[in-house]
């Protein structure tokens, strides 16, 4: 196995290990933040001396470091961990296998995508060692602050530019692969829902990222060439007028940023829906209920996601007409995700559910995503958004979707497809401990956030809002959240140990241990170079479980 490989399986694993490393890094950053919120201005135990005088003084975190940690946590988790894991790792590894193809359509472009991702990620994280530290203007990088921030912000922008190139190339690859390289007999409506989800996700990445790339160029011009795309006239910084041309608009950045960032959240959830659909169909031994509705919903959700972005900007004075438009589209777009989750729930009814570790994570995904989605509704209506905007309610909302939502789906996927990649099983006892620790830990962190937000606690505050009288009734929640963080971290140790141990010593398994119907299981585990010794031919849909009158409870797609 060469390190610069063009084999999609190798590249998928490169994405997997890199993104899991970034996931751990992003988690480590927020552990520090949660400590600071629970025990403000107290010396960080054990590791307080490791961060340098500009960040931590006598063990106590400085506000400047707090904002770096908070901004980079969001950036790393969204752009360097979750999406590369969901699309780069799962998409790359599984899409060619699930459609019966020997590789992706453009293998060398695929390799380039990975190395650009790694390069972009490293550039962004390098910010931590620059004078002034890493980017600290939120993962949203709002000007005017981001325009005048220290060099770490430039690293963020350059890294983001490179990352977007990587993403675009990857998206093109996945779309062309799915459209062009399907095996004979594999019509679009016989595709596993996972593949549909990856297809729509790649469309969103393709079309939504370029405006952010443009915006990054504009912000780089502001920072390096003295332009004022985002700097309004008459800006005063620390008591002195800022020497800039002026005439720009901070709102311009917000529009360009959110034009990407709203479709980005569907990029975060669609692959998760895809994974959960595969695991649930397999675990219930029944065909998925409402496959066509789910496909239609994914397509509808993808298209609509381009016209809802300004619901992140209700407080920018946009006027009632535009506000009404975005409220209506936002309410409409909640419908397809309800259809998808309902279809998955209904799929469970009457099934003989196998409660494997992947199934645990996939089943927990459903109510957790439900909470996340429902808590989004008050944010989509301008009137209720006004008191909730920029509070912890928003943070709780989106973390419910991404953490016990998407991340649970990704964990389910790792446990489910580990035998495909390695020919070994992961340890189910460690997996169960990982699940329960994560489930309790995540709820312990994010449920209180909804309460804190309703009380009015603002986001990104170094002291957790302690100086405000209205936050006093909820301050006591922070220590509970800290201990939940500790529990969550401990639970991940079970996962890491399980992963490493099982790679070497996991129980060897047959080709298709989950008795699944989809094409990736129609070859050896792990698959050979070019995947299928003889190209498969597809004879039926993807979920022919428990066919009436058959001897076994599943009929693989490729079986005549």
């Amino acid at each position: 196995m060469r390190i610069i490989s063009t084999d999609h399986k190798v590249i998928g694993l490169q994405y997997l290990f890199t993104s899991l490393t970034f996931l751990l890094l992003g988690f480590a950053l927020i552990v520090l933040v949660r400590w600071q919120l629970a025990y403000p201005a107290q010396p960080i135990p054990l590791i307080g001396g490791l961060f340098g005088e500009s960040n931590v003084v006598q063990g106590v975190m400085l506000p400047e470091f707090y904002t770096q940690l908070s901004a980079m946590h969001g950036t790393i988790m969204v752009f360097l961990a979750v999406v590369p894991l969901a699309v780069g790792a799962f998409g790359n590894y599984l899409v060619p296998l699930m459609i019966g193809a020997p590789d992706m359509a453009f293998p060398r472009l695929n390799a380039l995508s990975y190395w650009l991702y790694l390069a972009g990620g490293i550039v962004m994280v390098t910010g931590f060692v620059l004078p002034g530290g890493a980017a600290s203007s939120g993962w949203t990088s709002y000007p005017p602050l981001a325009d005048i921030a220290s060099a770490g912000q430039t690293a963020w922008l350059v890294g983001m530019f490179v990352l977007i190139v990587s993403s675009l190339l990857g998206a093109i690859n996945i779309i062309v692969t799915i459209m062009q390289l399907r095996a004979p007999g594999l019509t679009m409506m016989r595709l596993p829902f996972f593949v549909w989800a990856q297809l729509v996700t790649s469309f969103l990445l393709l079309l939504a990222f370029p405006p952010l790339q443009g915006a990054a160029v504009l912000q780089l011009m502001d920072r390096l060439a003295g332009t004022s795309f985002f700097l309004p006239s008459g800006l005063v910084v620390s008591g002195a007028p800022l020497r800039a041309t002026g005439g720009g608009s901070p709102i311009l950045w917000q529009h360009l940023f959110w034009f990407l960032a709203h479709p980005e959240v569907y990029v975060l959830i669609l692959p998760a829906f895809g994974i959960v659909a595969e695991v649930i169909a397999n675990a219930t031994r029944k065909p998925l209920w409402g496959y066509r509705a789910m496909v239609g919903s994914a397509l509808f959700m993808g298209s609509m996601s381009f016209i809802v972005w300004a619901h992140h900007m209700f407080l920018t004075g946009m006027g009632p007409t535009m506000s009404a438009f975005f409220q209506v589209t936002t309410m409409i777009i909640s419908v397809p995700s309800v259809i998808i989750v309902s279809s998955l729930l209904i799929s469970l009814y009457g099934g003989s559910i196998r409660f494997t570790v992947p199934a645990l994570f996939a089943l927990a995904f459903l109510p957790m995503f439900g909470i996340g989605g429902l808590t989004g509704l008050p944010l989509g209506l301008a009137a209720s958004d006004i008191p909730l905007h920029d509070t912890y309610y928003v943070v709780g909302h989106f973390h419910y979707i991404v953490a016990p939502g998407t991340l649970f789906a990704l964990f389910a996927g790792i446990y489910y497809w580990f035998p495909k990649v390695t020919g070994r099983m992961m340890n189910p006892r460690l997996g169960t401990l990982h699940f329960w620790g994560s489930f309790i830990g995540m709820n312990g962190i994010f449920l209180p956030m909804l309460i804190e937000g309703l009380a009015g606690v603002n986001r990104r505050l170094y002291d957790g809002g302690r100086t405000y009288a209205f936050t006093q009734p909820v301050i006591h929640l922070y220590s509970g959240q800290w201990w939940s963080t500790v529990l969550l971290g401990a639970a991940q140790l079970f996962f890491i140990v399980n992963l490493v141990w099982s790679l070497a010593r996991g129980k060897r398994t047959a080709e298709n241990p989950w008795q699944s119907t989809t094409l990736e299981w129609a070859t050896t585990s792990p698959p050979p170079h070019e995947n299928f010794p003889t190209p498969p031919r597809v004879h039926r849909g993807p979920y022919d479980y428990s066919p009436p009158g058959a001897a076994i409870d599943f009929l693989p797609q490729h079986q005549p």
């Binding site: 459209m179 007999g185 529009h255 298209s303 209700f314 004075g317 946009m318 535009m322 006004i386």
Partner: protein, 79 residues
Amino acid sequence: MTLARRRSAFGGFLAACWAAASASALACPICFRVEEGPVTDGVRAAVLVLMGVTAGVLAGFGVFIARFVRRAAAGDDVA
């Protein structure tokens, strides 16, 4: 509910609507646009341009998809 009660409930509903619709109820400057200005005009122009470009690109995809569906249905699938 009796007919009389229903009528009075409906009347109350209408009264609430009238009250809400009167300008004094739209006092929030965020919902009720305070002033027209060049910035709001500029934002509106930007949003329309970007949405127009997006609509055009999606329409282009739509044409390809329609053609593809037709060809696939005609059994033009790979042999």
